[in-house]
Symmetry: C2
Subunit: 304 residues, 2 copies
């Protein structure tokens, strides 16, 4: 089952010719989720051949422009291209009015249903659930109310042991009960315990997205053991005082969070424009947490 993240923007604050500001696309089981939506995100989707109409849920972490100024344009383009599928937007409550006032000004009646879900960035709470995935907010510590999002696969059902199933010749309609943990008795009355018929399900995978925030240890219990953690790393650690002042994080601090939280992989992004070459930030992070990679525009990252 596919679970991957495409980076649509990796710069902080302002767009440059090499790096757009923040947006990411999460593909889980061919359902597309957009996280944040800086100006230019719709062009990035086009550039990286992602069909925007397939996106059904958009999550906005906070109302700094480099995380949402592209949302109204994306919504409008979906409208102009004749979308009919419902779109769900999750974000701070003020966002709803910002969108409405702009749609009103252009006298636009969207041709598709749009549902706005106000989220409380200060709460750790489930905001989305389907049969395979649960998404919750992660309260962060930034200049304005901000949250991250954690995507967790739901625990799967037990997996059938093919050889046992074939040997006993179990009818197909019994599979679902057995996957759910039931034992099986055949027509002769012989009992097979569930453990003989099944094995443990795959380990659920998870992806945590944390942007923007100061170095903030309260997130650690939430992101502990995730398969991959995206954490902002706006500055090198020699600018730790600037990072603290602006409620941002250094690469060293992001790596420290990853290490303490024992995550599988660290992805750093939201680089200050001062770093033309983001490998400086990577080098700093790797010293603390070796399995770190850069969130560069266009990069696809498998969640394993």
């Amino acid at each position: 089952m596919v679970f991957k993240v495409t980076i649509l923007g990796s710069n902080s604050a302002i767009p440059t010719l090499k790096r757009n500001p923040t947006a990411q696309l999460v593909n889980h089981n061919e359902r597309l989720f957009l996280i944040d939506c800086a100006e230019g995100t719709q062009m990035q989707l086009r550039k990286y051949h992602i069909r925007m109409q397939r996106i059904q849920h958009i999550f906005i972490s906070h109302l700094h422009g480099d995380h949402f100024f592209g949302l109204i344009g994306l919504i409008s383009t979906m409208h102009l291209l004749g979308r009919n599928k419902e779109l769900h937007i999750y974000g701070p409550s003020a966002l709803q009015q910002i969108l409405q006032i702009q749609l009103q000004a252009s006298q636009t009646e969207l041709v598709y249903p749009l549902t706005f879900h106000a989220i409380d960035p200060n709460e750790y709470a489930v905001v989305y659930e389907d049969d395979k995935l649960t998404i919750s907010t992660i309260p962060l510590n930034h200049r304005i109310p901000t949250c991250g999002f954690i995507f967790k696969e739901n625990p799967g059902k037990r997996k059938l042991r093919k050889e046992a199933i074939e040997k006993i010749n179990i009818p197909v309609h019994e599979f679902i009960n057995i996957k759910n943990g039931a034992d099986y008795t055949d027509i002769t009355g012989r009992l097979f315990k569930n453990e003989e018929l099944t094995q443990e399900p795959n380990e659920p995978r998870s992806y945590a997205y944390c942007s923007d925030t100061s170095f903030y240890e309260p997130i650690i219990p939430i992101v502990r053991n995730v398969s991959a953690l995206y954490h902002e790393a706006t500055f090198l650690h020699d600018k730790a005082h600037v990072a603290a002042e602006k409620f941002h994080t250094t690469a060293l601090q992001a790596a420290t969070i990853a290490k303490i939280a024992n995550v599988g992989k660290l992805i750093i992004g939201h680089f200050s424009t001062r770093y033309d070459d983001a490998t400086l930030l990577l080098d700093e992070a790797i010293n603390v947490f070796p399995n770190t990679i850069l969130a560069l525009d266009g990069k696809e990252i498998e969640i394993e």
Copy 2:
């Protein structure tokens, strides 16, 4: 004295990878004016090496997203880059609230003064004036209130005839009076009529920007004889019914306006995404008005 237009976007409605939606930069006498500001305009400014902090006046024709969704991002970037020069924005009154509500949401107190000038798109009125240039609105006919803008050089002073000035040995401090039309009497009491000393000033140049609009003849008296007319040409004329329905213009109609109004040059733009190759539109316009050019992203056009 420089007078040129740089096209920053030429597509209608939505951005494509080749054409951004509408924005244009007018440089008159090294003063920079921005007309419209679609999403991505700040990236276009960067791409075409235009220093955004030099822009002091921004004119928004109407509140369809493809003409203003990039404004809040541009304003924010100017702020983040530490602008201190005043910025003036001219647009429909609802725009002010759209900007304010977004600045409030991000708790942004701009570090530079921003003055908003509400304009009435239904009125032909002067909205800007300096010693060399006057800018007026041009009421257009679109789905929502929309105006164009006409940039007219103020009539210049008369030009000194170098050879006469030198022969008579007129002191420099007299030049300004003579340029203003005064005669000159030398120390011997001899009178020189102004016509002997000066010649006609350069013909004032003018640039009219008309987007978006249906085919709308009331603009003709306003744009008559302009040096260059930008007129939208969203469709080919075989789609004249679609153009009319959507309050847009065909290439043939734009050329017809140019011909009747006897303009120096026609620039067409705001091309429907259906035309991957805009030369189809050019060919149609040229049949009616030969001195037509395409407004393609990045093109610089001298106003002569």
